[in-house]
Symmetry: D3
Subunit: 316 residues, 6 copies
């Protein structure tokens, strides 16, 4: 296992940089004299940096591709107030030598702690059917392992290893507070729905190197994948109540709230309504906070324009 010693956020202009990076973009460009050079975008868990290979670009181009981890030789320079790497040689790193958590952003909270906090919520479920169902999910090693790793989105909120878990835990903690606040809410259904609402995301994305959609992510999507996973687990629980199954399905199906956001049904139960709103709130707060944090070193009162929110955000 290769280990990084210098992370992107710590690179200073003028330093020699002999380090490991994940390649997220690679394009050939050329000068007006026809001299080709390579434009790279390099990433580790602390950020991204541009890299240039000025010499022998055509040869180096064949050595590695987008999505690879590479070992580079070269130095850091400064342009446009940013650090940039000028790279003289490259070597592709074998997959077996890669510790992805060094290259991809990871949740700030400890993943195992978050997972056991989640399991504590599972323990509080009263309904034996729902508790059995949740065990069936999280005692399934593949599911548990992917659930600890998946991001919650490709580019909007919680875009990091452990992001899905962090988002899910945040949602159910909020749901838990809301249950105490209103009367007449079915706690078991609400918490179970909160835990499972995004479960299909573990198969919607690929996150072994660069985050992207999987084929089934684009063709089926996490909402329906989640229903299929749910059905498969329910099928092996004896006498799982039909109405309970139906309400749980409805909650997952409708958690995007409106047709426009890909829910084939809109919330028609109190619990589905609440999960939709809390999911939306948690995603947007995280998106605001990450975007403001990412724009913290600019001296403007405003972030750059946020395309999904279609607005500038006030940093205050």
């Amino acid at each position: 296992m290769k280990t990084k010693t210098l992370y992107i956020k710590d690179i200073k202009p003028g330093e020699k940089v002999s380090e490991l990076f994940l390649v997220t973009e690679k394009n050939m460009a050329f000068s007006q004299k026809g001299a080709p050079y390579l434009n790279l975008r390099l990433k580790d868990r602390t950020g991204e940096v541009d890299g240039k290979i000025w010499e022998n670009a055509v040869e180096w181009d064949k050595v590695f591709k987008k999505g690879d981890v590479i070992q580079t030789q070269g130095g850091a320079v400064s342009f446009k107030n940013s650090v940039q790497l000028s790279i003289s040689s490259v070597r592709k790193v074998d997959d077996v030598d890669i510790d992805l958590s060094q290259y991809l952003p990871v949740a700030k909270e400890n993943i195992d702690v978050m997972f056991s906090d989640l399991m504590a919520f599972v323990e509080q479920i009263s309904s034996p059917y729902l508790k059995t169902l949740l065990y069936a999910f999280f005692h399934d090693e593949e599911i548990a392992s992917l659930f600890k790793k998946a991001p919650a989105a490709k580019g909007f909120h919680h875009v990091y290893i452990g992001g899905l878990l962090e988002h899910t835990l945040s949602v159910i903690r909020l749901l838990d507070k809301i249950i105490q606040h209103y009367k007449g809410i079915d706690r078991d259904l609400l918490i179970t729905g909160g835990i499972l609402h995004d479960i299909g995301k573990i198969y919607e994305y690929s996150y072994d190197s660069i985050f992207d959609y999987s084929d089934q992510g684009r063709l089926v999507g996490h909402i329906v994948i989640g229903i299929e996973m749910l059905d498969a687990k329910i099928a092996v629980i004896e006498e799982f109540p039909k109405q309970l199954a139906m309400e749980l399905r409805h909650l997952i199906l409708s958690h995007h709230g409106t047709y426009e956001f890909g829910s084939p049904k809109r919330p028609k139960t109190l619990e589905a309504l609440i999960v939709h709103h809390v999911d939306d709130l948690d995603a947007k707060i995280n998106a605001f906070q990450e975007y403001i944090e990412g724009a913290s070193d600019d001296d403007s009162n405003w972030t750059p324009f946020h395309k999904l929110f279609e607005r500038f955000i006030y940093k205050g």
Copy 2:
């Protein structure tokens, strides 16, 4: 089994009418002197007619409810250029004595003929996996029986017993023509997709008496019910190819074409694109034709305003 002898479309003002009807609406009204009377909407497979019970309305009200089949005594009168029944007595008919096909509209084509036409398409499927899948659906007695009976919608198109089968058969016949017309279409996938695109509707509606949505129809909907049925059938077919399953799922999921119409994914394969368009075309042609036919005795060039199409339709 009770048998109707006089159908609504044949009732003439002035006749005595001692006949069987399905009650689709029942409301108490009253005159300005406080005299109660019952307003009924009565139905058989040839149409609907208003009925009034002027005497002893409160007592008769207790004898039957909306959704029942009743035996009435009374006579036909004419108001507003329409026939209306003035009813003197009523008796509720036992469920065992009811032949629903006398009370609900039925497809014009013979249902068994249509079903065997559909099965002929199944026979033409080359892929053993898809053929096995379709057998699994239509050799399932519950599914086959419901599929022969379900309407294709509650109030837009093919709203009659056998309507789903008629619509499905019409769609695959059109698909069959389209395959001959374009290159590069996967026939097996397209025809199988056409056959199964609306399969979830057998559980979306209740159609034992008045057509309505089932609970799972409203909470889950036929698109996702269809996916669940598909998954259940695929699960017991050995080595069903994963990509084929995924493309079939996508085709069902996306057959409403846009998010606004409840598809959680929009068509991203050629076959999904085609099924969506042909489904839409067949539904709308049927809706136009039925609406024009239903307005045929009015002497205007135009139908009444159609709420879903948001327009008057020209009868020509």
Copy 3:
């Protein structure tokens, strides 16, 4: 002060009813013989009931108008499974004799308790400017008195005396939970924003008898009325920080979240984002619960169609 002894929810068919009601609708109708009669809609805090005046309708029509409280003589009958009043004589009640809380629905929780709970939140504000501001609002007798009385809406959620206070308190209790959950939120701004977000509603509605919009409610609306009230209070606080005032204005302006719902600005700060979502959630939960409760005696699994939500709601 006249006191009701029999409330609408307790009236039984067959009883004599000599009682006080608020008139919410009054229309003249007539029989086919030209005999006029009056259709009334009568209300008290427990519900609404239809009333008919069959005799001397033209004369009785002149005695009272919509919005009056009347003393009726007559009896209760039953039609369409509902109670209806057949009224023989009417007397208008003088305004001074009316205790409105008998005629309009009121919050279930005690209003003074809720108000003092709200004031406890005010006490927890750290910023002297914001605390002074909130004192300026709630030590203003007119504001405090109206704030205890106003409904939160005319017909969607919290439509009862004390509804605005109940909704506001519910919102800030949720905000208080959310503050504990996320980092980096300005508690003082969030709670103050939560308290004041709907303050303009005290002048948006009229609620002295039937709930309706005021002229300025329709022409200006509670969002901008709220800003004007805020500006008036800030103007007399020395050295109130300009940026704080601006952020508070933004929070109130943007609390409907989108242009379509009447916010001239969409949330651009974290606190504005949160208040918008929590306000929306609390309103919708209340609307769901009230609608389900109002449909509780129907034996369907579903409420009637809800026009604003554009759906049937599942009662479970």
Copy 4:
């Protein structure tokens, strides 16, 4: 020619009414005893009134139909604060005896004066091609005659005989003012466009008795009918400049401003932009004023809800 002596706005309850009316609605209704009666809606240029035929309704029903002018015998009564006619006998009036201007609302300004004001604008056109074109339209007797008569809409604005002329004249007067205000506007094109923008409406509606759409109004619409009329006239003018024709077509095609309102092209020239806006403004001002005037005897500050504007309008 039959002449009315008593107009609807002057009928008082208690009077005998032997008078001429246009029938705009006719429906059979019936009492709870099965006694049929006729509900009529009667119209003359001053307003509308309900009428009832209580006796021998079935026979009277055969004597006339919707759209006819009838001579009635009977008396006026008062219900719901409105006058209503109780009719004992009816006679259909022959078409040749009808002066439609007594039955349909007419523009307040004199139609011939307005038409000659319009022609004065035609005289001011400098371009010989455009002047010839406008002569071709208005020296065409059919067009001139229909143009003096047509309403500008079926139910939104200028809904009266002469309404199209009044609206057109108002639009070009405003355009004339705007030309003086801005530089670089092609006066001839703008005024000609203003005159012709709605010319297709003379064939979009039927207005010989009740205002309605014609078949081509619904199938083709006034925008394209206008283009066809324009092309027919241009075809017989020698050497009409092609670009001028194209810009005039564009102006007519785009005068509804957006696709949503039925324009197949949006304004792309300055003149088209201006005609669209002035047309829209004049239509809406007329609609506001007519609606406020129609609601003038209600004592509310507000009109009833206006469906097209989706709002209540403040009368002030």
Copy 5:
């Protein structure tokens, strides 16, 4: 007539290239030392390629312009996995020497065969009026000649010489199948409508060199141009039935289906409904297939993002 010998798809890096190309883009750029060079986009019927003129760019710039066909001297190099031309000298080719079919993409099927297939459909029309009408169109040499050449769109579907003809033929072949499938369709009207639905496109685009909109294409658009052409042809056919003309107009006007897509009327007849749907289906299938084909050498399962469809398309 100059003839190409080497087509773009066959150019290999390293070859000398002395060849003819259509210039679709030309922009001056410059190095950081102020040295200007020309960026070209060059096209022939097999594809497009970038070209660079490094030396004497300012002088060469004056020799030709966008839309010209040029004779170049130079060589092919490889960058970014693409071929690029490095050009040393250029000569503009005279229009008379240009065979456009070498530079613009052309339909795969033979244009004359397609045209005679279309004429065979014309022969099958029973109505003498409609047959005369279609003769009037296609025996008009200008129309026939342009109809064989025009693309069906500028950038969405059938974007090649003969594309309009190919699309039209495909649409009527599908319509022909649909007629056999449903009852009650007017075959003559449907086929004639199918043939003429896009006829206005022959004047909507310019396609003598680079495909673009004509002025009347942008100001009037093919829908209304089509109506004008139709009217001109009908005007010289004696006793052409008015209703038939109106239904044909409606069919052309409404063939985009909704206002949003530029139809001033939505389909209100069965035939108009069908033509709209079949037109839409054929356009989208072609667009999908062309886009998938254009992305065939990429090894992803997905095409690049398609802007009009707003999605990635699955290549399978």
Copy 6:
């Protein structure tokens, strides 16, 4: 005060240019050899020009920033048919030496003349309350001074010093014509509303150097800022009529016409309706004219694509 002698529109390639410019963009770029250079966008009131600093870019970069006025040394060259400056040295100019009217575009009409024309309208107001109100605005030196300077928008229409005043004056001149045209309009309210409708824009933008939004522009917006300014002025006028204040508020609030464009209320009075339409018309005419003028030296019949109008505009 430094004075420009050479304006951008007059610079010729080949000239030496030692001149003053406003810097609107500044970015570091670099050659393929790693040599940094500065890309500048320079502005004066006659237009904009690109500038390059090829030598010592890193040092020059520290000398000035975006928004500064600089004194440059260098020469003009020609690329892409445009003039470009090659700059050898730069000096930042002190704020006190800057006459902004040399760097920012200014209204074509004289600002003081326009302002006194506006004041003449104020003098014509009959209502003493409204006249006092308008005095309160325009005798306020800060307001008057900013009102003479502010642009009417950041990038759509009247984007120049004095633009707000020019737009406002144009609107009220049109309103004045409209008053003469229709009956029943409250002249005082309409003209006052026209004068004040955009008054909040003086604080919505910053326009001391580059035009941009202020913080309160983004967080509060000119509509609500305008209301706050209005309230502050009304508060010190004795006995200002409440209803008049409310109608004026409504007029300002609703002048964008729809929710989508940021009005929290839509026009519900005749005067509000008219101001909205006239404001919209004047803004769009100016936007069309400025855009056509800006594209006048291109030889196409069409402007480039206009993003806000989403169309090409025909220059004719």
